[in-house]
Symmetry: C2
Subunit: 575 residues, 2 copies
């Protein structure tokens, strides 16, 4: 930053790189719209005011359009888009987001620190400000095997990275409340930075205890009262509108009703699929919904910009003022938030939805593309436990919560034959340990085939579902050869595959190409008989997540979430 | 901080040190009053909510009184109180202030880094949070000689001190705007911290340029439009109500009228005399006035607490919430802000205006008490310049601005005899360089005597005024022997003296004793014939400040502020 150059441009005594004239500028500090010009040099806003008579390399007359700071997505997992950071950032940028606070929790479960370093490297030249919160809970539980374990000492090696803001969402709130030694070490190590929370439904004294540890954000509120209690406890409430979790309506309605101060609110998506982002954007959608609910547009814009910057202590981001980054969005209106153009560091990046400056493609190479390490798997490894009665994972359309059923082992062949049960297998895929969990699933559909994925929260082991062992074994082989991704097998043939070669989680092909391929896979899965209303891959990806009720399958076997322990041959009697 | 202990108390499973029950708690985040109990352990708030049935070492029923966070004085010069930090902090605490952002600019002009280190040391065990902004402009100008010069390299040695927040008020705004190399170095060195501004009247492009350098606070606004322009430029406006500069009414009225967001406002005093603080407090007075002007009480309290903490990025300060310091004020009402009690780190420190926990006295010793280093001064050194006509400093009752007059040299003896002129002398007192400025002052009064002070902004040289050389020389001798302070001489006799042995600026006697002595000095000065409406010492202390119009005297001689240059024998012709 050449301060002298900025001073000279601000004074109007030196040529600006860019002059945006005649704009309705949103002032985040006073919450006003002010008619002004904006002078930009070296990617920095030098001055806001009367510059129309000053010289500049480029002068653009905004003809009274709204000029607002670039939006901030205060909490997101890039991996959930299934494309690499380079691709993801372009998509966010198209919809006005110029700053991301990310938590590379998924890739960290695959590759630990190397995974985080990959995300930092891949976003080094991203067309957005890309910040990282260090994943605090890898692995998520002790009932499964992830690719890595991250201790406080490991996280500390990245603490001073210029784009690391602090510690990512502390999901293990039972561990916090019981003052688990390993968790205390992590919390103590990051007291001087931002510590994100993740405490769905936590309330009363327990919420106070959780917050007292310095955990000052939360994106899990799903009701107005939960959000208000967290705000009152001093937490920033990140209002989430993702693909699965959609909390904005509840929270914003509650905040409006309670008429509380909004400055500790920010917007986020947490997990949002690429197809949803492509269709409606991220923070733009939060803005639009909030205003439709009755929030005034300027307060909504504060939430989408400066509030998030304040919460994450982002210097020179989130406002249109001298010394700030020239990250700007030109809006046609303040209700639908139609975007005319997006500037990043003073460069025009997006015009009418079209990306103008494609950064050169990055091709991931090395260890990050070689994370699928499977043991040899044979038919004998796919045998169900030798118990009289077996637990069954019952899935439901449009939900990730499962329910528990039981079946007599002797009836299983008939139930598979009549299509009401399918076999599901989770195979540890990071270190070829040979850990394999085998179980039963009901409600999935699928005939004469198998479906497999290496995206499986949070440990991202390989999950395969099928109605016969041959197709299951073949699907494992396909996944192994393509080094991660989705695959569909029917009658011993590979009928469709989508490689996710980066960590087994992400693709690096262009966004359009990826979305077309994904759409094709969904259609083919339907042809295979996967039940309507069930997403063939996303449903599977939550089958191994032992923190969501009621029954799951990990590489260690069937897991009873309600009792928070593994099933065994005695389980059925205890029910 | 023992996190486990705090968690256990928050959960209600372990004994709190203190339980404040049945309070109307001010929630800074939501701007609400909430009926709750507050559980405190190890000086930290563990939880806010229903704790009345939990155990604690001490339980206090607040019977529905208001409980608010301790106030924050966002910008003050402790030296202006003329007592050492230990004494000053006690006085602030009595009036509900638990956090100070100080700028040790005065002592730094006397002793440089050693002066700053003295203030940091003296406040090490202060009963308030005592933060320091490193003085950016020492010396203030090049037309005088201070005790020290502070360059960027010097300031950097203290940058990582845990109580240093950044760079103090950048008074040399012409230097900023001309991108002076030494100033740019200082600004660059502190870009990652808070940089305070000082830009009275700066507007338009020049204000944009000043702010673009990362200078993000200002306490010099004296009109509503100035404050609004600074807020819009992204500056935090520190609303000042000091002894001399009283800007609160203008700014708060303007903010109310414009209905802008208030979150970038904080309260400060800048310079406030001890007698004024004793009478009305500091931030409490700001609160009271703001509410009387029509600002709602809760917004005023946000300004006095959390806003300041946010602006200065003070972690765990400024709110009543889990994990925050237990710095609390119990208020009887929200209009007059009558204080019942003040807690610091969970300890009851003040009750009904009475300090309960006197920290042990500290006695300053060493170099800090030996800062008056005067050369031998004789009658021949007190000769006026040999010009036909001489400039005269005309002072006015209740103002620090002076006006310029001229007198024929030949007429000076008569004018001194008739009492309309007095001689004024400024002597460099840090390094005995022998620099002496001699001039004339009108409007001071005083008969057959001399008045001297070592408090003289900003270089703090020795200033003496008198109507005869003998008394002037004797006053110099008295100051020399007492190593700094105020003194009054009449007819060759020391008729009153007030030692300020710490840096020649501050006293370390107890507050009551100091105020009585000061009052006595003021009465005696009046007896000496100092004009009514003229503060005998404070008026003198601004005589050498070359940045305030229109005419000053430094140790280099008479200074024309309007032309920003020294007077010489040609000056009169140029007028």
């Amino acid at each position: 930053m050449n301060i002298k150059r900025i001073i000279d441009v601000a004074k109007g005594e030196s040529e600006a790189d860019l002059l945006l004239c005649n704009a309705k500028v949103f002032n985040v500090f006073t919450k006003e719209i002010i008619h002004a010009d904006v002078a930009i040099v070296d990617g920095i806003i030098a001055g806001v005011g009367q510059y129309i008579d000053k010289c500049a390399k480029e002068i653009i007359d905004l003809e009274g359009a709204f000029l607002v700071p670039g939006f901030i997505n205060a909490h997101c997992h890039v991996e959930s888009s299934m494309v690499v950071p380079e691709r993801y950032c372009q998509e966010e940028l198209r919809h006005g987001v110029t700053t991301l606070v990310t938590d590379p929790h998924e890739i960290a479960n695959v590759l630990g620190l190397d995974g985080i370093l990959y995300m930092l490297g891949a976003s080094e030249n991203a067309p957005v400000n890309y910040f990282v919160q260090l994943p605090s809970c890898v692995p998520a539980t002790c009932f499964e095997h992830a690719g890595a374990t991250l201790r406080a000492e490991d996280l500390l090696t990245l603490k001073n990275h210029p784009r690391v803001l602090g510690l990512g969402e502390m999901m293990d709130y039972p561990g916090v409340l019981s003052a688990d030694t390993f968790i205390m070490k992590k919390l103590e190590a990051f007291q001087d930075m931002i510590i994100d929370g993740h405490a769905p439904g936590l309330t009363g004294c327990r919420l106070q205890a959780y917050t007292a540890c310095g955990i000052r954000t939360d994106h899990e509120s799903s009701t107005a009262s939960e959000a208000l209690e967290k705000l009152r406890a001093g937490m920033a409430v990140l209002v989430r509108q993702g693909s699965a979790s959609r909390n904005l309506k509840e929270i914003i309605s509650g905040v409006l009703k309670a008429q509380v101060d909004t400055r500790n609110l920010a917007f986020c998506t947490d997990d949002k699929h690429l197809s949803d982002i492509r269709r409606e954007g991220t923070i733009r959608q939060n803005l639009k919904m909030a205003v439709a609910l009755g929030l005034d547009s300027l307060t909504a814009l504060q939430i989408a910009t400066w509030n998030a910057a304040q919460i994450y202590k982002l210097k020179n981001i989130g406002a249109i003022a001298p010394g700030y980054q020239a990250d700007l969005v030109i809006l046609k209106d303040l209700s639908e938030f139609h975007i005319s153009a997006v500037y990043k560091d003073g460069c025009l990046m997006v015009k009418e939805g079209k990306l103008l400056q494609q950064k050169p493609d990055s091709f991931a190479t090395g260890a990050i593309c070689d994370t699928v390490n499977l043991p040899p798997v044979e038919e004998k490894d796919l045998i169900l436990p030798d118990w009289d009665r077996l637990p069954v994972i019952r899935i439901h359309s449009g939900e990730i919560i499962t329910s528990k059923e039981w079946v007599k082992k002797a009836e299983v062949p008939d139930r598979i034959a009549d299509g009401s049960l399918r076999k599901v297998v989770v195979i540890e895929r990071h270190h070829a340990t040979g850990n394999i969990g085998v179980g039963l699933i009901a409600g999935y559909g699928l005939h004469h085939g198998a479906v497999a994925t290496t995206v499986a929260h949070d440990s991202h082991n390989l999950i395969v579902v099928g109605d016969n062992n041959d197709d299951i074994l073949f699907a494992i082989q396909v996944i192994k050869e393509m080094k991660g991704g989705y695959c569909l097998v029917k009658d011993g043939k590979d009928v469709g595959s989508l490689p996710l070669r980066v960590g087994g989680l992400m693709s690096d092909v262009p966004v359009e190409e990826f979305l077309t391929a994904l759409d094709d896979m969904l259609k083919k899965a339907a042809d295979l008989g996967v039940s309507p209303g069930i997403d063939p891959f996303i449903t599977l990806s939550f089958i191994a997540l032992p923190v969501i009720p009621s029954i799951r399958l990990t590489d260690c076997g069937m897991f009873d979430v309600d009792r928070f322990s593994m099933f065994d041959h005695c389980s059925e009697k205890e029910q």
